[in-house]
Symmetry: C2
Subunit: 407 residues, 2 copies
């Protein structure tokens, strides 16, 4: 892409995202909806000004990784640990139900081939952690108890989704897939999630010291950003979603995170939590997040090419309606398998519904590999669009109702 | 480029730039040298880890445009006006001398064809405003009197360089070039430089008001950034260098900049300077500048592929030595055509020497169009490398000597 054209695209993206998110916020609508709408409007669905170009997508990815970094920084692991197995239960149910039901509906109700049905089930599995976090943020609920469970569950869910994608992809390309390879990747990811916060914490101590002796300002931000990028690359290398790199790095820089290394009976190395460093970094990283993260949501809207849908086809509508039912019900029920106040169960169930980008990647892969034809792809687009757009409204309405009752 | 690969490239670029600039700063060397060195080391000249990829270049360009935005914000137009015609004189002499002398040396001393000689002369004309600004910044001299003249001159010089490039390019492609078209572009650029700060000032008032009523933080930065990008696109559209868009937008947001529109005898619209807005924006834009601007200098180093040079060729060394003499002497003398204390004349002359990216673009265009052969391109690379790397040392040494005398 030419330099000046890129500047124009970027400016259009940033301005439309901001203006629309401000506009919908006036009507009490979560601002992430404005950004998704901006993408639908300026993208191929309507005006066609901006296409899902590589460079724009790369910047959008930086945006979502930085957002996950911020989520990681806000996460208190001890508080997450106190919620125990709840995120695991929500994630597992929210993964298995849509996969099995999506597969079953496609195969038995619509008579689709096995592989196609598997792909459709896979598309319905992964909760979009980005959209979930943004909605909770817009509603001022990101630090609530239920949000802790949702974020933990969405992280696990995203990892399960990527594993499923890798498995299905291998199945499509090599016509067979081994569970051995899959469990190996699973092990790598587990190691990654456990080890990287420790390594990143070590790095954060070094960076903090360097920053205090730097000749020019800005070392902290540059180095933290580099660490996030390195970890995202590493996440990809072990087979995990890239955004997990941002999340893991964020955990390490969190004001709550510290640990001790023991040599025999004595603590050999003590890494204390450093609220000051966390505060300084958060101050500096916020302008970058404000700039780049809306791009991610705009690009989700841009990637949702609704012109691909033949709106007159009955089959598309029937399939979309059934899959939508599966997609919403399966995630919503996941909240009811844990012991929580009913209010939290509903909030968790609703928060897990957004599919967004991971579902899109699934569907696009299936479409480009010739597994999904135009009609199936269109039906999935409808499901993704609805599950992405509806939860912000549903959550807003639900929290409003709960608050009214409490008054 | 793949997502994870891009993350790795970006991390390597950011880390190496920062570590090397810190390392050279320990030895009292201006830190921009560290960033250029980082580019030479990680680029094709040495390790070959990072290539001058499109996306990396786009981010680098955002970096330099933001730096020029900051320069614009720091510019006090009334102070610049007080230096009168001095920047114009320095720019014109610093443009004509290298062009004529480079042309003459190539044609009469080395017997090169006319068009080739013209291209070589053109390559020697444009001062790299980016490198000049960074060096003055590293030495803590960006707000001095002489820096004001240098920045004014470098801006004009950059515009003259782009005009020369457009003219020569047209000459090469269409085998003839019209001065009419050139003066039309000149007129557009003049209009752009006069009108955009006024338009941007108007926009800044709107943005300021929007920001104070925004539902979420970050509107000011996002909108200012979009304005900078739009203006850079517009600059390209009228035929000016893209970075002028950043500079023009910066002028408008400067704490010194205000104006009145008169209707007959009465001021109809008064736009006061707004130091508060300027301060708030500068605070927020600085993390972006710290992150992206080093990328620009690294990418200059990456683009300087010194492996292209056949270091054993006598012809290359002879030509490079002669052109280097022309390149240094012609810019240095430019400082002596104005009425200033001798100290300032020397500082201005030295500051105008860096060629960097504009020279590189010239040389690469000539090479890719088949006008310059490998040997000529190599000689120009040596000239650009030297004129880019030497002035920081020369200026540092000169300011040190002047300070010693003053004690």
């Amino acid at each position: 892409m030419e330099l000046h054209q890129f500047f124009l695209f970027l400016a259009i993206t940033l301005i439309s995202a901001r203006l629309l998110s401000e506009a919908v916020a006036r009507f009490g609508i979560p601002s992430v909806i404005g950004e998704l709408l901006a993408g639908l409007i300026i993208g191929p669905s309507l005006l066609g000004w901006v296409s899902p170009d590589t460079t724009m997508k790369l910047l959008a990815e930086i945006g979502i990784i930085l957002l996950l970094f911020e989520v990681g920084m806000d996460t208190d692991l001890s508080r997450l640990a106190r919620s125990g197995s709840k995120p695991v239960v929500v994630a597992l149910i929210g993964f298995v139900f849509p996969l099995v039901l999506g597969y079953g509906v496609s195969m038995w109700l619509f008579g689709l081939p096995e592989l196609v049905s598997l792909f459709i089930g896979g598309t319905l599995t992964a909760t979009s952690i980005g959209i979930t976090v943004r909605v909770l943020d817009d509603l001022g609920k990101r630090h609530s108890d239920e949000a802790q469970i949702v974020i933990g569950a969405a992280v696990l869910d995203d990892i399960l989704g990527v594993l499923a994608l890798a498995f299905l992809y291998q199945f499509v390309v090599e016509r067979h897939a081994s569970f051995d390879a899959l469990s190996e990747v699973g092990l790598y990811i587990l190691l990654f999630m456990v080890l990287t916060p420790l390594v990143a914490k070590l790095a954060s101590v070094v960076i903090d010291r360097l920053d205090r002796h730097a000749s020019k300002p800005g070392l902290l931000l540059t180095m933290a950003l580099s660490l996030i990028l390195l970890f995202s690359w590493l996440a990809h290398a072990v087979g995990a979603p890239e955004i997990m790199g941002g999340f893991a790095a964020g955990l390490a820089f969190s004001q709550h995170f510290g640990f001790r290394l023991w040599l025999g009976k004595y603590p050999a190395l003590v890494f204390k939590p450093s609220p000051k460093l966390a505060h300084r970094l958060e101050e500096q990283v916020r302008p970058l997040i404000h700039t780049f993260s809306p791009m991610f949501f705009v690009m989700v809207g841009v990637s949702l090419n609704l012109k691909m849908v033949d709106w007159g086809s009955v089959f598309i509508w029937e399939l979309a309606a059934m899959l939508l039912l599966v997609a919403v019900a399966s995630k919503f029920t996941a909240g009811f398998f844990i012991r929580e106040p009913r209010r939290n169960k509903v909030a968790i169930g609703l928060s897990m519904i957004p599919r967004g980008e991971v579902g899109l990647i699934f569907a696009q892969l299936g479409f480009s590999q010739g597994i999904l034809n135009g009609e199936l792809y269109a039906a999935l687009l409808i499901v993704i669009a609805f599950t992405t757009m509806a939860p912000p409204f549903l959550l807003k309405w639900f929290y409003g109702r709960v608050a009214d009752k409490a008054d």
